[in-house]
C-alpha cells in the first residue's frame, strides 16, 4: 500500500522512486546536555543529495556530521523541518536508507552470515535458502566466503568493514550512508577499502552519502564534496570533483586533483577562521 502511494506521487513529480535523491529541508535540531545546556546543532539546514552520485560530507570532528547521518537514516527526528527520500518525507529508519556505523555495529553473537542475512530474513523478503544464497554470493564477492561461519570478533578491522557493507547492500537500499567507515584502520587497509568502495560505487552508481574528516579520502571518492561548518552546522561550500571515473590511486597525483585539493584546503581554512 505505502509503496503504491510512493510510486504514484513520484510519477507526478516525474522521478523514479528507485532513482531518488535524499534531502534535508530546513531541519533544526538541538540537544540538551547537562554541562552545556541546550546546543543548537542544526538551524534550518537544507541539503540535497542527488541520485546516483557519491557525496562526501567533510568537516572537523564535532561539527554534526554524524548527526546529519543519523537524521538521514531516521535514527533521530528533526525538531523542525523534514528529511526525505525522493518525493516523500521520512520519519523512521528503514531498509531503503542504510547507514554503516563509525565503529562496528555487527552483532557479535551472530556469525558473519547471520549478520548479513538478518535484514532479508526478518522482513520475510526471501525464504531462508534464497537469503542464504544471496548472502553467500555477496560474501564471496567481498572476499569473505571462508569467514561466513566466523563471529565478528574473529575478523580483522578491514574484514568487519566489508562485512558491514555486505550486510547493508544485501537489502538493496536506495541510499547508502557511511559514517566515517574507515576511521581507525591502518593506512594500508584504509586505502584498499577506499579503492574497494570506489569500484563498488562505479559498478552500481548507488546514491551514497559518505561522511569523513579526511580530505584525501574525500577527493579520491567524491563526485561532490560538501564542506560542513559548525555551530550551527551548515554547508559552507560544495566542490564538484570532476575527476574521470573509473578512478584509481594514480588520480591522486594528477594536476586536476592537486588543484581541487588546494581549493578545498583554502575553503577549510576559511571555515576555521569564520
Amino acid at each position: 500500500m505505502a509503496e503504491g502511494e510512493a510510486l504514484s506521487t513520484s510519477e507526478v513529480h516525474g522521478t523514479k522512486s528507485d532513482n531518488a535523491g535524499i534531502w534535508l529541508d530546513k531541519v533544526s535540531k538541538s540537544f540538551s546536555s547537562p554541562d552545556a545546556g541546550k546546543i543548537q546543532v542544526f538551524q534550518e539546514l537544507s541539503v540535497n543529495f542527488e541520485p546516483n552520485k557519491l557525496h562526501v560530507v567533510m568537516g572537523a570532528s564535532g561539527c554534526g556530521k554524524s548527526t546529519l547521518g543519523y537524521l538521514l537514516a531516521g535514527f533521530i527526528s528533526p525538531d523542525q523541518g523534514n528529511v526525505g527520500l525522493g518525493p516523500n518525507a521520512v520519519r523512521k529508519p528503514g531498509p531503503e536508507r542504510l547507514l554503516v556505523f563509525q565503529e562496528t555495529a555487527l552483532w557479535p553473537w551472530m556469525t558473519v552470515l547471520d549478520n548479513v542475512i538478518f535484514g532479508p530474513k526478518v522482513r520475510g523478503d526471501a525464504d531462508a535458502r534464497e537469503a542464504k544464497d544471496a548472502a553467500q554470493t555477496l560474501l564471496r564477492k567481498f572476499g569473505l566466503a571462508e569467514f561466513a561461519d566466523k563471529y565478528p570478533d574473529q575478523l580483522s578491522g578491514g574484514m568487519k568493514r566489508r562485512a558491514e557493507i555486505a550486510q547493508a547492500l544485501i537489502n538493496r537500499p536506495e541510499v547508502m550512508i557511511l559514517d566515517e567507515p574507515f576511521r581507525g584502520l591502518d593506512v594500508m587497509t584504509r586505502e584498499i577499502l577506499q579503492e574497494y568502495y570506489l569500484d563498488l560505487f562505479e559498478e552500481t552508481r548507488q546514491t551514497t552519502v559518505f561522511i569523513t574528516s579526511e580530505l584525501e579520502e574525500a577527493l579520491f571518492l567524491a563526485d561532490k564534496i560538501y564542506i560542513m561548518g559548525d555551530q550551527p552546522a551548515q554547508i559552507l561550500d560544495i566542490i564538484d570533483v570532476d575527476l574521470p571515473r573509473p578512478r584509481d590511486f594514480e588520480v591522486t597525483v594528477s594536476k586536476k586533483y592537486l588543484e581541487y585539493k588546494e581549493q578545498a584546503i583554502e575553503l577549510l581554512f576559511q571555515s576555521e577562521e569564520s
Binding site: G74, F75, L98, A105, W107, P108, M110, F118, G119, V122
Partner: protein
C-alpha cells in the same frame, strides 16, 4: 578440568601446597599460640577416612547444601532476570517499583533470617528463601545494567533493517544482556554459598554449614576442618559448573582470532 589444574599447578604450586600443610602440621605439633586446640592435617585425614568417607550422614550434608544452593540460585535467576529486563525496558514499571527494590537491596541476606523463619512454613523453605535473597538482588542489578548498556547502534541497525519488536527483543536485546546475566551468575553462585553456610549454622540441623558448626560445638576440630574443606570444594565445583554453562551461553566469546 584436569588440563586446567595442570596449567594452574606447576612445581612451584606443589611446593607451596606442600609447604602450607607442613607449616600447619608443625604449628599444631609445636602448639604455637592458637593452635593448641587445632587438629593437624594427618588427624584430619585419618578422621575423614575412618569415619566420614563412608558415612551417609556426611554425604547427605553435601546433597542438602547443594540442593539449597541450587533452589536459591535457580529461583533468583527465574525471578531476577525478568525483573532486571523489565526495569531496563519499561520506564513506567521502573519508576513504580525500582524505589522499593532499592529500599530492600541494602539489607544483608542474613538480616532476613529471623523474618524468613517467621514467614515460611518450613525450615527448609526459609533457608532457600534466604539463599534466594543473596543472589536475587545481584542478578537483577546486573541484568538491569546490561539492558542500559546495550549499544544504541545495535538497536538502530536492527530497526533500520525492518526487524519487528519481538525479533529485536529476542535476537538483539537478549543476547546483548547475556554477558551481564553471566556476571550475575558468577557473583550469584559465590554469594549463595556464603549465605547458605551461614544460614545453616544459625537456623538448620543439616547441611555442610551445620556439620562444620557441630565440629566446633562438640570440640572435635577434625570435623570442623573437614567441613571447611568440603565447603571450599563444593563452592569450587559449583563455580566450575556455572562457568561451563556461561561458556555455553556465549559461544561467540569462546573464540579467539
Amino acid at each position: 578440568m584436569l588440563k586446567q589444574l595442570q596449567s594452574t599447578l606447576n612445581w612451584r604450586g606443589f611446593v607451596a601446597i606442600f609447604g602450607f600443610f607442613l607449616i600447619w602440621y608443625l604449628a599444631c605439633i609445636l602448639e604455637l599460640p592458637g593452635f593448641a586446640e587445632m587438629a593437624n592435617p594427618l588427624e584430619v585425614i585419618q578422621m575423614f577416612v575412618r569415619e566420614y568417607a563412608h558415612d551417609d550422614h556426611y554425604w547427605l550434608s553435601w546433597v542438602t547444601s547443594f540442593q539449597r544452593v541450587l533452589y536459591g540460585f535457580l529461583f533468583a535467576q527465574l525471578f531476577g532476570i525478568p525483573l532486571g529486563l523489565l526495569f531496563g525496558t519499561n520506564e513506567k514499571f521502573r519508576n513504580l517499583f525500582f524505589p522499593v527494590f532499592e529500599l530492600l537491596r541494602p539489607i544483608p541476606p542474613l538480616a532476613w533470617v529471623p523474618m524468613s523463619i517467621l514467614f515460611w512454613p518450613t525450615n527448609e523453605s526459609s533457608i532457600i528463601f534466604i539463599t534466594f535473597i543473596g543472589a536475587f538482588f545481584i542478578i537483577v542489578i546486573n541484568v538491569f545494567d546490561g539492558v542500559r548498556d546495550i549499544k544504541r547502534e545495535h538497536l538502530w541497525l536492527a530497526l533500520s533493517l525492518g526487524a519487528p519488536r519481538r525479533v529485536i527483543f529476542m535476537r538483539i536485546m537478549l543476547p546483548s544482556v547475556i554477558p551481564s546475566i553471566a556476571v550475575g551468575m558468577t557473583l550469584g553462585i559465590a554469594i549463595t554459598w556464603d549465605v547458605v553456610i551461614a544460614a545453616e549454622m544459625i537456623a538448620s540441623d543439616s547441611g555442610l554449614g551445620r556439620l562444620t558448626w557441630e565440629g566446633y560445638v562438640s570440640s572435635t576440630p577434625e570435623v570442623l576442618v573437614i567441613g571447611m574443606i568440603s565447603i571450599g570444594l563444593a563452592g569450587y565445583l559449583s563455580t566450575k559448573v556455572v562457568n561451563t554453562i556461561e561458556r555455553k551461553m556465549m559461544p561467540w566469546r569462546r573464540v579467539k582470532r
